[in-house]
Symmetry: C2
Subunit: 78 residues, 2 copies
DNA sequence: TTTAAATGTAAAGTTTACTTTACGTTAATT
DNA sequence: AATTAACGTAAAGTAAACTTTACATTTAAA
């Protein structure tokens, strides 16, 4: 499974951005070329972005994919 | 668009692996939990892996996603 | 306290990643 | 030269990412 820090990062950006740059779900969605629904579903963890979208997101936040997304093995360890 | 070094990296591994560890398309596919078709299509660039699969691949090669996959902007710059 | 902006939810449709099957080609080994 | 392992192709089906639409809830500001 994949866990992500999308919501936290975006909300942080919203607070920090002095000039009220657009870090709303809608603003981010537009810059990424996806719909707001896509942002919502990713923040909720309902589904994972494609690799292309993951790259775009990382670029928007100016970090690496690994900074936002983390892969966790699901294998049972009894 | 996304370009990847999958084929090069895998072939390099095949040559380097002294003990003939399984770096064939089939061997890699099995360890990744996908089919050989998936490996072929990715090496050809027919389609991009999901983020989950990209993570698994990076883990197999013991590198980061960015070491294997590169995102290139498609926007026209005339 | 009303209005509007931002967020959330749900469901049906499209696109793309990925599977399955089956067969053809190349390269290495005997 | 014949066999086999590895690679390549094609096509139809399934699963998951992503869109579209529409409406409901929360939050902030007038």
């Amino acid at each position: 499974m994949i866990v992500n820090k999308l919501k936290d990062l975006r909300e942080k950006k919203m607070k920090q951005s002095v000039k009220s740059e657009d870090w709303t779900q809608e603003g981010l969605a537009k810059r990424l070329g996806v719909t707001r629904q896509t942002i919502i579903s990713m923040e909720k963890g309902t589904y994972n972005p494609s690799l292309v979208l993951a790259f775009k997101i990382a670029h928007e936040f100016r970090v690496t994919i690994e900074d936002i997304f983390e892969y966790r093995d699901d294998k049972i360890e009894s």
